[in-house]
Amino acid sequence: MSYRLSSELSNESVPDHGRILVGTARPESRRVLLAVLVGSVGQLSALGLMATSAWLITKSSLRPPVLALSVAIGAVQFFALARGAGRYGERLAGHDVALRILARLRVWVFRRLEHLVPGGLTGVGSGDILARLVSDVDATQDLVVRNVIPLAVGGITMIGAVLFTMLVLPPAGVVLAGGLFLAGVVIPATARVVGRSFSRSLSANRGRLANQLVEAIEGVADLISFGAVVKVLARLERAEQAISRIVRNSAVVSGVANGLGATVTGMTTIAVVAVGAVAVGDHRLSGVAVATLGFVSLAAFEAIAVLPESFARIDQALGALKRVEGLAQMRPPVVDPLHPDRLMPGPAVLALHRATVSYRSAVSPAIEGVDLELAPGKRVALVGPSGAGKTTITLVLLRFIELDAGSITLDDVDCRRIAADEVRSKVAWAPQEPHVFATTVAANLRLARPDASDADLVRILSSLGLSRWLAALPRGLDTMLGQNGATISGGERKRLGLARALLAERPIVVLDEPTAHLDDVTECQVRQAVLGATTGQSLLWVTHRLVGLEDFDEVVLLDRGRVIERGSFTSLLSRDGAFAKLLAASLPNGHLDGRGH
């Protein structure tokens, strides 16, 4: 079974960079504004503190009456307190809004994936998805706290410092404006451009590394038994070295930027003082004012010291954001109609007509011209070798993937006119590899029917031969199952999937290889249980095993995506065609045929 390649872009307009974030952040824009405001008060207070302190001290050296200083003394104390309070408020408000946006973004990401899995997503393993959700979405949180808010606050502080200096001595104001612009904008922005490729490949390499980690941990049994641990560690080492190289190179870039920034900072302050000194020499300005300006200049650069880091991190955050937003560009394999038809409750006939699906990566269609009818009370066995397209048919029936030609109908209504969820609400499905969630046995089953009673669960589990397994569980139905159901065997996992499908009590039941991991006895028991539990429902039994097929109304033999023979078990046998020959070949000695009833 292979899923449709989905890296293709949709025809709809590709969202602009950052649109998703802006969209999720818009409802929170007031909170963003508040954080910027509070932060600016804090930073401007720092400027005020240095300016008033410098003024106070220099003025004092001229020995004025103490009373003339009292306003300045009060101001010094006020600024001293406002500084910390403003900064505290900015941080809290910033993180609060970032986490609010994060919650929205996470739900958005999951909602996107909801239309893409399965069938719309390949080339992206679970490890990469994990990296996306945890790493990338978290990085967008940084974008708010470490980029947007500090940049806005820094900008306001710069303007405040320049305006003040302009008022006192215009040329010094020009010098300061130039210096701040260089150190706060030009140098960091240049460093960002130079370092862009680093941060981009850093995200990519970290994503790759995350994939490798998941793959290695999940495949630990294979790696150990094949003595390939060393090989995988060597692979990790290569990935790690690539990351180290990028980290080091980008540190060199930011080091150079820091150095240049410090040069500009120092030289600007010297220039401001020099310009001031000339003004003092011309008796245009007092020494007190020059000292104040000098301290304002120092404090202004101190205030924008965070900007280089903001710039440096912006690409890292944007790169992650871009990857998250990439999800928006993936086309859902099945698109719901704008005005879907409503369905009648109760049984329904689900049918395929000349159904064809071609995967982009494959040369020949996965299924071609397949007709299939699932009517109430009808039991169909879909038989064929691995790779014949059996699983593709189940995904089509569940509206996880769209047909390329032909049609799928529900009670003669084209499914393209019905919401996919509506179609699925008619179908109970047990996939080839059922997923067991990291929760209790009961919760794992109840997701198929939330109102099922404990008795229902126990009844279904025992009908599938799981009563002894259940009895052995330490907390019965309330036992937690591990990641991926690691504490349960393949056969048990399979039957948990079947139990879900039976519990759902939906008109149509689609079971993909329901007996693959089971022994003959259990297989027979499970088949009988399924057949007994689905009386009156329509059943599609997908299998590559030619066992117990006499219990089905129709046997459909699939090979290379095409139906090559169909009919009842007996009619197929008597026809002496492909199916009969196949059956004969699979039971080379008569005595091995112990399964016939």
């Binding site: 050296s61 001293a80 996470r106 080339g123 945890v134 980690l213 941990i217 495949g219 995988v232």
Partner: protein, 603 residues
């Protein structure tokens, strides 16, 4: 790594010295400017001096980031390497109780955030002590009384820090827990997304994710409210300190008790005293994730590895170097030495019987026995099938024999070598194993086929035979890139049946292994392919010992002996009379034989 942190600290101290020089020069410059009548020419040389200090400072600053990065790289790389090696070393039995998502997040993202801790926090932590001491010395030289004020403010720092630190530490740890749970929660939800959609439960899970994230927000904010308190206190102490220094200085200036130049210098220096402490504290909060991840890695490393001593009786020099640590194994030469030391050639002759005596296995949390004193002996070249109902412990029996599952009682031996005493690498090299759900890895088909080999083979004659035997030849012939085809992560580009066949070929290529261990090798295969595979296997594993778990009758024809396992005990042990001497492969050209072999279908 220590050297690089020391370099970072030295750079930091240099920077502080520059700051002090700048403060002194600025004070002197402003003092001159305040009394311009005395002539202001003198400040030119001082401005030049200030420029020189600026340049030195810039140079030091430029060096500081790379020094930190180099140190961070070393630590992160080492922890990641050791962490993954330990996870893989603990094996599947240990992993059953762990969450793959959480482990991957810890080793991936968690350790990535360690960069800040190593690169910035550690050197700054040292500087937080050294730099204020240096600056206080300078202030003392300039003005005694100011020193006392600054010291008083400074004395409050540890007091508040201890109070606040105690308060936040535990909650921050809780937050990390919440975040990692969320990581695992996400992976779980996404892996089961198809199931959730099929049953119309995805919406609900969506709300769940919103709820979990909201929970994280609330926890995080309650922590931050306290965590940022420390920053608030630090910053306020710094600003209040400045104010407290400025006002008395002003009053004393009026009285002429202190000079203007030193007063201004002290004013510049006072916030600088607090700056290193503030920085260290802010970095601490930024790098807390990295620290938590480090703790987790330490926990992973914790269950000490058994350094299985090599005790191979009668077979000396099997492996001396394979007890070397995984790190050393990374060098190419030692990889080769492992291959040559694992008894690669000698083991292909399965001259030793495999025997189990009273082997019992119990899973940690489960009450019952998975295997209950199993006695089993396989003669060299014998073929044994284990059958039984699902959950009887068949797969566990195989993983126990392989040494992947620890057993609580009994012994397992190959000839005279006991598993408990043998070198683990050597032991596993004796087996060619196909797990029930084999895993493939991102890379080419070739990479996956030769997973168990240190290097690719020079001759591919045997390879072609194996591919034929595993019914892979026509699949590979149909691929444009052949054996160089990328299989995708976890082999996602192949079907389950194809993956299984690749895993079978991968096992058959382990020519050094005398015992072939197959766990339901044909579960995903159709009958015709199964028949073909069985016939090929019969020939390919000729002479080797076979331990097989199967539910399929066709596979039973391969074996000499069948053991029935029920509830962890052997309930029947019979020789198999259905085994025929040599089966004619069903690829004899007959239509049915090729029909379902898929790849064999005539175009």
């Amino acid at each position: 790594m220590r050297i690089w942190i020391a370099v970072s600290i030295a750079i930091g101290l240099g920077l502080v010295a520059c700051t002090a020089a700048q403060a002194v020069l600025l004070g002197e410059i402003f003092a001159v400017l305040l009394h311009p009548s005395a002539g202001i020419r003198g400040i030119v040389s001082k401005l030049v001096g200030l420029g020189a200090v600026t340049l030195v400072r810039s140079l030091l600053l430029a060096l500081s980031a790379p020094a930190g990065a180099v140190a961070a790289n070393r630590v992160r790389g080492q922890l990641r390497r050791d962490g993954l090696a330990a996870v893989l070393d603990h094996g599947p039995a240990w992993l059953a109780d762990e969450r793959v998502g959480e482990l991957a997040v810890t080793l991936g993202k968690g350790l990535d955030s360690l960069d800040t801790y190593i690169g910035d926090y550690l050197p700054r932590l040292v500087l937080a002590v050294l730099a204020p001491m240096f600056l206080l010395g300078v202030i003392a030289d300039l003005d005694w009384l100011s020193l006392i004020v600054v010291l008083a403010a400074l004395a409050l720092v540890p007091l508040f820090m201890v109070l606040i630190g105690r308060l936040t530490e535990e909650r921050v740890a809780q937050r990390w827990l919440a975040l990692t749970t969320l990581g695992a929660h996400f992976l779980d939800a996404i892996e089961g997304l198809a199931t959730l959609r099929a049953y119309g439960r995805a919406r609900l899970q969506e709300q769940q994710i919103g709820k979990v994230t909201e929970e994280v927000r609330r926890t995080t904010l309650s922590v931050l409210r306290e965590a940022f308190l420390s920053a608030l206190v630090l910053e306020t102490l710094a600003t209040i300190g400045t104010a407290l220094v400025a006002v008395p200085l002003a009053l004393r200036l009026i009285d002429g008790q202190v000079g203007l130049a030193p007063a201004l210098s002290v004013l510049v220096l006072t916030p600088e005293v607090f700056l290193p402490i503030r920085r260290a504290s802010s970095d601490f909060h930024a790098s807390i994730e990295g620290l938590s991840a480090t703790d987790r890695v330490m926990e992973i490393l914790e269950p000490e590895r058994d350094s299985n001593p090599v005790q191979v009786i009668g077979e000396e020099s099997t492996s001396k170097d394979s007890t070397a640590s995984s790190i050393e194994l990374l060098s190419e030469s030692s990889i080769l030495s492992v291959s040559s030391s694992t008894g690669y050639e000698q083991a292909s002759n399965p001259s030793a019987p495999l025997s189990l005596h009273g082997v019992s296995v119990r899973y940690g949390r489960q009450a019952g026995m998975v295997l209950d004193s199993i006695d089993l002996e396989l003669l060299p070249g014998e073929r044994l099938a284990v059958v039984g109902p699902s959950g009887a412990g068949k797969s566990t029996l195989l993983t126990t024999v392989l040494g992947l599952t620890p057993y609580s009682a009994g012994s397992i031996a190959l000839g005279k070598v006991f598993q408990a005493e043998a070198d683990a690498e050597w032991w596993r090299a004796q087996f060619a194993y196909v797990p029930q759900a084999p895993r493939l890895f991102a890379g080419t088909l070739m990479y996956n086929l030769f997973l168990g080999h240190p290097e690719l083979p020079s001759s591919d004659e045997y390879l072609h035979g194996v591919l034929e035997a595993a019914c892979l030849s026509s699949l590979i012939a149909g691929l444009p890139d052949g054996l160089a085809t990328e299989v995708g992560e976890g082999g996602e580009r192949l079907s389950a049946g194809e993956r299984q066949r690749v895993a079978i070929a991968r096992a058959l290529l382990r020519t050094g292994a005398g015992v072939v261990v197959l766990d339901e090798p044909t579960a995903h295969l159709d009958v015709a392919t199964e028949a073909e595979l069985a016939a090929h296997l019969d020939v390919t594993i000729e002479g080797r010992t076979l331990l097989l778990v199967t539910h399929r009758r066709r596979m039973l024809e391969l074996v000499d002996r069948v053991v029935v396992l029920k509830g962890g005990r052997i309930s029947e042990d019979t020789s198999n009379d259905t085994r025929r001497p040599r089966l004619s492969p069903s690829t004899d050209g007959s239509v049915p034989g090729r029909l379902l072999a898929g790849s064999e279908m005539p175009q």
